[in-house]
Symmetry: C2
DNA sequence: AAAATAGTGTCTGTTAGACAATATGCG
DNA sequence: CGCATATTGTCTAACAGACACTATTTT
């Protein structure tokens, strides 16, 4: 005994914020500084051991709330990592179930929650603890993939939004500009948007119509349980 | 104490075999009859507790070998299930990491390995133990999805194969007929096939060219580790 | 020659992308 | 009015699917 496998849950939390230099919206994520060995002092994904009385997703959501004071708009399981090579200085063996989440930073924003928590631009991360650099890379790949065929981008926006706002989210995630005309048609063809009668005014230009997402369509597959 | 979470690994194993009535190739999978409570007597996915000295995928492969005497041609993680509602009569809490695998039944075939192991047609399963019916449904969905954009179908075939053979695999997985002309062009366009100089003779018709898969292309993403 | 599958050609409808043109509120 | 973005229109290349047609081997 003593060689029991322990189970942890960690989460890659994405939010959209302006880049400090370019001021264009980019992906950020919060990391936690490790205060004990192994990898003491390095930045790591927020997470912790799975409590015996909570589900995997619930554990991820709780940890997210404790780390950032935010509520996830979207939460999906990413992968379970359990290789023997993970814990570099290990008597103990840990399997980590990783989730990824999208949040709206507006809500509690710069509260900067915990003292050992700091937000980083997702594409400019330091070397992380354990295999967390690899995990973040994979989560980014999944997000960039999924934004193209699901209504996941909604998680970064409010109840209603203009097509330009929605397009800005896609552009930030995909890191390339999109043709406004073609983007509009793709969204219309996809049939996930519902036009409202309201318009966004205030710019020095023609007001844009506000849309909302069709609530009758599930946001995405949160695993085999909810989605199809 | 005593409320520790235990970790198990189970695998959905797919093979192609003729349907007992129609004789057309369909998906089969092996199940194990439970010999103890809970769900005693019901059929369940092969699996077992994770040994502390083996990785998750290694555990799945070992269990697959012990259950079917077969070597997986393809193995990928499906999902980690850890809801509190899983174990129906539980003092204990179990999180299951599920893998899915493709095997070639020709190899050891009707050995029918263990005495409590039986193969079933994937679309004609009885009610399974725990949430395993849901899990199989999800695995089928993943397989049917993936066959359309990866070279996963290769796992059901030998080193070389005709386009008709490859098409038969796709048809069996997708459960619909495919146009031979269009299928050929799609495979050629995808660029994953390499034509050999050999032909398959023996039918009462024109011989068909044999192809092989481009080895330089990874089979698929076995998680973030191998694939991209 | 007849059968049967291998393999090619052609047509149509849909879609992604590039880019031109028009619409309209705001300063 | 003129700017800036919203919104619509048009054209082309690529692709999927339906289906006709030709090629080649076995019996």
């Amino acid at each position: 005994m003593g060689d029991q496998v322990s189970l942890a849950v960690s989460t890659v939390i994405f939010a959209l914020r302006p880049h400090p230099r370019t001021h264009r919206p980019v992906l950020w994520l919060p990391l936690v500084r490790r205060i004990r060995a192994p990898h003491q002092g390095r930045w790591a994904l927020p997470g912790g051991p799975l409590a015996s009385d909570e589900g995997l997703a619930a554990s991820a959501a709780r940890n997210l709330r404790e780390t950032t004071r935010l509520t996830p708009q979207y939460l999906e399981q990413l992968y379970a990592f359990g290789g023997l090579d993970r814990a570099s200085t290990a008597d103990e063996r840990t399997v980590s179930v990783i989730y990824w989440a999208l949040v709206r930073p507006e809500e509690a924003d710069a509260g900067e929650a915990g003292v050992n928590v700091q937000w980083f631009v997702a594409d400019e991360l330091p070397e992380l603890a354990f295999d967390h650099s690899l995990i973040v890379e994979y989560a980014l790949w999944r997000l960039r993939n999924k934004v193209e065929y699901s209504r996941i981008a909604a998680a970064f926006l409010g109840e209603t939004f203009t097509l330009a706002e929605l397009r800005a989210v896609h552009e930030a995630v995909l890191q390339r500009t999109l043709d406004p005309a073609n983007f509009r048609r793709q969204m219309e063809t996809a049939g996930r948007l519902v036009a409202t009668e309201a318009f966004r005014t205030g710019g020095r230009h023609r007001p844009a119509r506000l849309y909302r997402h069709d609530q009758s369509i599930h946001l995405a597959d949160n695993g085999p349980l909810t989605g199809l």
